[in-house]
């Protein structure tokens, strides 16, 4: 599906803002400052609370709309769909979970990929969708992100990945773990051809996603307040009974601990990315020819 189709559907289904639906469907309470917000206002403000700048979660297409130049996004690999190759069943069969998620969503899994321009600069883009099974990374997410990186290698376009994920998709067993390796190996290939990779971490980016492509950016950017962790607060509390201080694992904590280059307000992302890419990208016919070591 292209972003044009998405616009067409957007009005009708409003499926991507399910998370925000509260009885009445028009007013939203900001979980950070408690302000009551009119949903239309929130949406016209990039889903950022005008009072406290709390960044609400975005669906993949909402994200693309904010990030890419208008009409520039062309989706690829949209037909790739998950398969329950382990016939996994917990409280519900994996196959049923897939169907349920797909029917609620406009995409077949937790990532949308394609090409776009950002302030005129062509990029290869992958945007995760927390709304699809918690943005969990299984084989489809791994394959699509890997292909995005490979298109970066092929086209020399910078690669931008927006992470939003609870981690590995356990229903795919060891194969979900292997997607960490698969995407990271692809990033090694990208590094070898010296094409820039900018990682954008949005709320939340945890587990296998944070421990692979999301923290491997040449530049790591993070949205204000986003939770980014290897082990999430609940895991830490349950496993070692350690209670985390307020603000731990949030964007500003990451900045303080040297893990990200910048905390960037959602509205500033396109400008920040474009500025960085203008400097990072080797100008064609440029100076300083490198000779092999």
């Amino acid at each position: 599906m292209s972003i044009v189709d998405w616009f067409a559907k957007k009005e009708k289904t409003n499926a991507t803002s399910t998370k925000l639906n509260i009885p009445g469907d028009v007013w939203i309470k900001c979980p950070s400052c408690g302000e009551i917000l009119f949903q239309k206002d929130l949406e016209s403000n990039a889903k950022v609370c005008p009072k406290c700048q709390h960044h609400f979660r975005l669906s993949a297409f909402e994200r693309i709309e904010l990030l890419a130049d208008p009409t520039s996004f062309v989706e690829v690999d949209s037909s790739i769909s998950p398969i329950d190759f382990l016939t996994f069943s917990d409280t519900e069969p994996y196959q049923a979970r897939i169907h349920k998620s797909q029917s609620k969503s406009l995409s077949k899994d937790a990532v949308i990929t394609g090409s776009a321009t950002i302030q005129g600069i062509p990029v290869q883009l992958a945007v995760m969708d927390f709304g699809f099974m918690g943005g969990s990374m299984g084989a489809v997410v791994g394959e699509k992100i890997t292909r995005t990186i490979e298109r970066g290698v092929a086209t020399q376009n910078p690669v931008i990945v927006v992470a939003s994920s609870g981690g590995a998709r356990m229903q795919e067993g060891i194969m979900s773990l292997m997607q960490m390796a698969k995407t990271s190996v692809a990033l090694q290939q990208l590094a070898r051809v010296k094409v820039p990779y900018i990682s954008i971490m949005s709320d939340p980016t945890t587990g296998g996603t944070s421990a692979s492509f999301a923290t491997l950016g040449d530049i790591n950017l993070v949205e204000p307040g986003a939770l980014v962790s290897f082990a999430g607060p609940r895991v830490i509390e349950q496993t070692i009974r350690q209670k985390l201080p307020k603000g731990a694992q949030r964007a500003e904590f990451l900045l303080h601990h040297g893990m990200v280059d910048r905390v960037v307000h959602r509205k500033e992302l396109p400008t920040t990315i474009a500025k960085l890419l203008r400097v990072l990208m080797i100008p064609t016919g440029g100076a300083h020819e490198t000779t092999p070591l």
């Binding site: 394959e143 356990m170 067993g173 060891i174 773990l177 990271s184 944070s210 290897f230 082990a231």
Partner: protein, 327 residues
């Protein structure tokens, strides 16, 4: 030697053997033939038990406190073994070890998770759960190996990377991620062997190899069966069901195409025979290292890349892709 829950039928026989032995000593009675008879039965029971292990039984073997540890295996497998320490930045993490030695005629950098065999050792080794500095030590040593063209062998045995505030502060996620990416680029062959527990990202952090081998009773999983049970099955006690569903045994991992070979363990598990286990691992590694003798570094990198590239089944245009052979 700790006996495992599923060994209960065996356990009674072993108790009886011990009783008879004590009796024969203290009372001076010759019970040799009685003992031999029970030992024969015990062997039969053991063979039977180990022929019908459930996944959760295997998990217990993989976690046996007497399972051979990385340092012990290093000293058994290598000559000129010298352990090396430190990430050169923050600390020396005792839950990951590494060092140089010769495996047969091959120079190797050996890296491994390190568990202890008793409480004191386990506390020192943090139960084999590394902090970021452990992964960074591993990276430093692997980079050293790569610089001097020394093949890398990694021994995987961890419940997982440590989940704690300090580890988060120092970038547990980044430390693991960086290893995945850097290991992908090394010009020397990397042989990884799961010798016990292959616990999620904490295992993979030293596991991006050209070849992945698993000991017969080792396991490799995206999450511990207990963790999976409590999250997905909403019941921590369903670890046995989760263990089965996750497909974590060596034969499952092999069927899925994630590992390249299974190394047989002595009857009753590796903890009964460290030397034999070391020999098995050593000769498997040497066979692998011999394979790469004439390979270019480009070919080595390409092989590693291709292995991971094809992992992960999905459907595209209604056609399944990357399907494991058992499907």
């Amino acid at each position: 030697m700790k006996r495992l829950p599923f060994e209960k039928p065996l356990s009674e026989l072993l108790d009886k053997i011990e009783q008879l032995k004590t009796l024969s000593q203290t009372e001076g009675i010759d019970l040799t033939s009685e003992i031999a008879k029970i030992e024969e039965r015990a062997d039969a029971v053991r063979r039977d038990l180990y022929a019908n292990l459930t996944p959760i039984d295997v998990v217990q073997i993989a976690r046996h406190p007497n399972r051979p540890d990385a340092i012990s295996l290093a000293t058994l497998m290598l000559t000129d073994w010298t352990e090396l320490h430190g990430d050169r930045q923050f600390a020396d993490d005792p839950s990951i070890i590494g060092g140089l030695g010769l495996m047969g005629s091959h120079r190797v950098m050996l890296i491994g998770h390190q568990k202890g065999h008793d409480t004191k050792e386990n506390i020192y080794r943090n139960f084999g759960m590394p902090h970021p500095e452990g992964y960074r030590k591993a990276l430093r040593l692997m980079q050293l190996a790569d610089r001097f063209n020394i093949p890398i062998v990694t021994l995987i045995d961890t419940p997982g990377a440590y989940p704690g505030l300090a580890a988060e502060e120092r970038g547990q996620a980044e430390a693991i991620a960086r290893n995945l990416k850097e290991m992908a680029g090394f010009r020397v062959p990397i042989i990884s062997v799961v010798i016990g527990e292959g616990g999620s990202g904490g295992a993979l952090g030293i596991g991006v190899g050209n070849r992945l081998l698993m000991l017969q009773y080792a396991v490799y999983s995206v999450i511990s069966p207990e963790g999976c049970a409590s999250i997905l099955f909403r019941d921590a006690k369903k670890a046995d069901i989760a263990a089965k569903a996750l497909r974590i045994t060596a034969s499952d991992i092999y069927s899925l195409g994630v590992c390249h070979g299974i190394l047989p363990e002595p009857l009753g598990g590796a903890h009964h025979h460290w030397q034999e286990t070391a020999s098995t691992i050593q000769s498997a590694c040497i066979t692998e290292l011999n394979r790469y003798q004439s390979w270019s570094s480009d070919a080595i990198i390409e092989e590693r890349f291709q292995h991971f590239r094809k992992l992960g089944p999905f459907i595209e245009n209604n056609e399944p892709a990357n399907m494991p052979t058992f499907c």
